[in-house]
Symmetry: C2
């Protein structure tokens, strides 16, 4: 069998340590092409670039993979890769390793996960990986074996169309990681608290800050798994229809 | 009973004809505060501003409402409104009227719908409205009575937490609109085709273009309803867990 073709992207930018580690892991498994943002794109969600232009260029970085740096968002990178860069549809798209967790509601703000979701929209197998450590120098080595295991299992057990994986890794030594747990998205949110400042011209401006409010203690929630030392895997879909509410809504509009 | 407090936002910017029409409609129903982007934010999805600052200012525009122009994305606008501008939690958040449809997969790219989803994350009642006409001078008057009806019904019949509405309106005269139909998100996608150009310095650059591929002819899909002359309402949720795939995934990771 041919080696699988694997597209790698992220939202922290093509030089981030997290993506370089992910590339080194999947280089052992397949032929790798990297198409990733040329600048940090955290929190860009599913943004696409429609009112300005995009460009990309090939870089010459260490390793057997090919690296393309793209001017757009993570979702733009996936679209550019599929239409302009890859020789054929990839067998797998992996995004990350994100510097910081994308568990629970963070899935909707995350450029890392939005890239994986976009690949899913394109009918591809896709996984987003995130480590619960925001630091640039986070220790991605601890998760290496688990990530390799998840990539191999996904290649062996393709997901149905319309599903991608959101994998979050606790910030622990590998011997402290208790295993891998299939989870649901925890019910959680950010409580905003904008930090108000005044610029030199007397005008107020704000930094978005806040604290994370986990309202979900259920055993199978991703936040619970992470807190208990497990790697969480949430199967994520992009059919957002709340089917369970359709009957009631129908009764209102009859 | 007090008049409801209604927050209005959008992604086309605070001066867009679509939001001005929506404001005029909800002014008849409640006390209205507008917090909307100071520039077009189409396709921004659920992007938030974390690596730069935000600001807002009150404008003096016609009508009884208060208008605040915000420097961020549609989701930023909702967060700023709740933390810094509104006197209390609003009874309803309405977003739009978008210039262009946000049916089917467009819900994930849409700033209009992401603002409504963010309001849902905050535990609020929220509706996104979009008209199937991209033109700035689109005829929003035709939909007025339907929008008023949907706003009133939503205030009278609060949705469960975790659900918001995605309302799309066909580009028809009001007497041609067949009614309102509760729908699911159609299975559809954009087929990318980047338009390649060369800049004056010889470097290639790209515009994102493509065509819309509707793969879903089912009677209850939003695209079908719109094509048949109905206004579509899709109940949208932000718990993205693919519960139907959890058992199989569990068997892979046991």
């Amino acid at each position: 069998m041919n080696r699988p073709l694997i597209l790698v992207t992220n939202d922290d930018g093509i030089t981030a340590p997290g993506i370089r580690k992910l590339i080194s892991i999947v280089n052992e498994i397949g032929d790798v092409i990297v198409v990733a943002p040329n600048s940090p794109q955290s929190g860009k969600g599913h943004a696409i670039t429609i009112n300005s232009t995009l460009s990309f260029e090939e870089l010459n970085l260490d390793g057997p993979q090919r690296d393309f740096s793209c001017s757009g968002t993570p979702v733009d990178c996936v679209k550019m890769a599929l239409d302009k860069i890859l020789p054929r549809k990839p067998d797998l798209v992996v995004s990350g390793i994100n510097h910081g967790a994308n568990s629970s509601i963070n899935v909707i703000y995350s450029g890392t996960m939005s890239a994986a979701v976009e690949a899913g929209v394109e009918g591809l197998q896709a996984i987003g990986f995130s480590l619960s450590d925001l630091k640039w120098e986070a220790d991605f080595d601890q998760a290496e074996e688990f990530i390799k295991d998840i990539v191999l299992k996904t290649l062996e057990n393709p997901m149905p169309k319309g599903v991608v994986l959101n994998v979050n890794i606790p910030n622990l030594k590998k011997e402290e990681i208790k295993g891998i747990k299939v989870c649901k998205q925890a019910n959680a949110k950010w409580e905003e608290s904008f930090d108000e400042r005044t610029n030199p011209h007397g005008k107020k401006y704000y930094w978005l800050t806040g604290y994370f409010n986990n309202m979900d203690q259920s055993e199978d929630a991703d936040e619970t798994a992470l807190a208990n030392g497990f790697i969480s895997i949430v199967p994520v879909k992009f059919d957002l229809t709340a089917y369970e509410y359709m009957n009631e809504l129908n009764s209102i509009y009859q």
